[in-house]
């Protein structure tokens, strides 16, 4: 049963965070894989919403873009983009937003805009998209990102999407409605925010990963839970369903 990749472990762990019946605002890539896996397994009534306005979509293959025809064809209905941002996200009708990014810091702030200085960037990233308002208006956000020192930094170069800012109650005091990032799922473990300081610590470690490995891939001095858990291994059932999904997807996008 140890025959799975780190990405598979991450995706299945992320999928398990999505409860049945949740209304979920889904980003492309890792979040999309996790949400659809959840829908195909323990959360058949999860409602997936993509920012293209596709409501309760049930794609048979993972979309390459956020607005693939597959999403529209399998949706209960399709609304305009202003409507999805106003009537759904801003109105608090989204239970969970799944986000990724290029950088995340110890307080869960996410950067998907630039590496380096904004006006003279080392790397220009795609930018905000729907992320800032997902991060502030979804009831909670779940973050899925591959662990690396470049990605997990002490302070992000640019706050595209607000986490807990400098920690403590700063987010709350600004009047942001959504509760903020509840969890970061990576290919090495699961990070959670400290209830007081809001600094993310390692709550659970994936099987066959060492604490040192996680620390080496984290750009701040990562605190470890007193009772560090080990993430359950993915089941054969979940692995099978995920691999089928990825295979169907690869086939569909090759043509």
């Amino acid at each position: 049963m140890a025959d799975y990749t780190k990405d598979e472990m991450m995706t299945i762990t992320a999928a398990n965070k999505l409860k049945d019946g949740m209304v979920c605002f889904v980003g492309i890539g890792l979040p999309s894989a996790a949400c659809n896996l959840a829908r195909l397994t323990h959360a058949p009534n999860a409602v997936l919403i993509y920012e293209s306005g596709t409501i309760e979509t049930k794609p048979d293959v993972l979309p390459l873009s956020i607005g693939d025809g597959e999403l529209a064809e399998t949706a209960s209905h399709v609304i305009s983009v202003p409507e999805v941002f106003k009537y759904w996200l801003q109105a608090g009708k989204v239970d969970a937003g799944f986000l990724g990014g290029a950088q995340i810091d110890k307080f869960g702030n996410i950067n998907s805009t630039v590496i380096g200085d904004y006006n003279n960037p080392k790397v220009r990233l795609p930018g905000a998209g729907g992320a800032p308002e997902i991060a502030s208006n979804a009831k909670q956000t779940l973050v899925v990102m591959r662990h690396s020192k470049r990605a997990f930094v002490d302070k992000v170069d640019f706050i595209t999407s607000t986490g807990y800012l400098n920690g403590g109650s700063e987010r709350e005091e600004l009047g942001i409605k959504g509760e903020g990032p509840a969890v970061i799922i990576t290919d090495l473990g699961i990070l959670k925010p400290d209830p007081e300081t809001k600094e993310f610590y390692l709550e659970s470690i994936h099987p066959d990963v060492t604490v040192d490995e996680v620390r080496e891939n984290t750009g701040w001095e990562l605190k470890i839970a007193e009772e560090l858990e080990t993430t359950p291994e993915p089941s054969a059932e979940y692995l099978g369903i995920l691999r089928d999904l990825n295979e169907r997807t690869a086939l569909a996008h090759s043509g």
Partner: protein, 286 residues
């Protein structure tokens, strides 16, 4: 037949001027590639290009030097990675440095709604705590709800000189109908001073039944051109699928300046029109 139904060459020549603020909208679906190519062929200059997701079409226009400024909210190749021509302009000033005005999706979609609604600004619950707001104090301001005291973001309405969209159908009177992922097209069109539309086909009249379908009525439309396949490699629901493979290929084509220019020469600037572009692509890529 409405006299607004004219060839795309004429629609672009007559209604887009150098230095215009132009929005080519379509959220993944119905991206007006044919119109974008025609703008490139006609060498329109110093455009302010507005689009939530610049996508390949603005990567091409920026790479060919059409843009003075880009107004956008997510500038990547969806599901693939970077827009290399956009990055080359911002990071290395090639072919020249474009000005960047950057928003979030929620903001731009709301700014189009404000423009369509004849209001000078829009209110949204967003941007709080972000560096985007700090970076752009001239267009993210904070206002207080006069009833609750809550602080909310206010941003200016978008009112492009011209909005260009691609739709599935127009009827002979010039009404335009689109369906599927409808994005912000209606709002971007209603917000603009002029509306140029390319369509998959002109039909005698729309099928009956759906009185609430998304329609831009004929008297608001400035020009309509029939361009079958006009949103390829994006897609038109009911007509053809998205060419995901091409979106992946673009990553390679656009990474190298020479290869990019060669491709643009072969497939865009040295072809007569979009139909020839599609034929050439098909021949060369089987």
């Amino acid at each position: 037949m409405s006299d607004k139904i004219i060839p795309l060459e004429k629609a672009i020549a007559d209604h887009i001027q150098d230095r215009d603020e132009v929005a080519l909208e379509g959220f993944t679906h119905l991206i007006p590639f044919a119109a974008g190519h025609e703008i490139i062929r006609q060498q329109k200059k110093d455009l302010t290009l507005i689009r939530m997701t610049p996508d390949l079409i603005y990567d091409q226009m920026i790479g060919m030097g059409m843009a003075k400024k880009l107004v956008f909210s997510w500038g990547g190749n969806p599901g693939v990675g970077s827009l290399h021509r956009l990055r080359d302009s911002i990071e290395n000033g090639f072919p020249h440095t474009i000005e960047i005005e950057e928003h979030s999706h929620a903001d731009i979609s709301s700014a189009y709604v404000a423009g369509a609604s004849g209001l000078p600004f829009t209110v949204l619950r967003g941007y709080t705590g972000t560096d985007l707001a700090k970076q752009n104090p001239e267009y993210v301001k904070w206002i207080e709800c006069p009833f609750t005291g809550e602080k909310l973001a206010a941003t200016p309405a978008f009112t492009p000189n011209v909005t260009v969209i691609h739709a599935q159908q127009a009827d002979r009177k010039g009404n335009v109908k689109l369906w599927g992922i409808i994005g912000v097209q209606k709002e971007a069109a209603m917000a603009a001073k002029k509306i140029i539309v390319t369509v998959e086909e002109i039909v005698d009249s729309f099928e009956d039944g759906d009185v609430n379908a998304t329609i831009i009525p004929h008297w608001l439309v400035t020009a309509i051109s029939e361009v079958p396949g006009g949103s390829k490699p994006s897609y038109a629901m009911g007509y053809y699928k998205r060419n995901n493979e091409f979106y992946k290929q673009w990553d390679e084509i656009s990474q190298d300046r020479d290869r990019f220019h060669e491709w643009m020469d072969t497939y865009v600037t040295k072809v007569e029109n979009f139909n020839e572009h599609l034929q050439k692509l098909e021949v060369n890529n089987g």
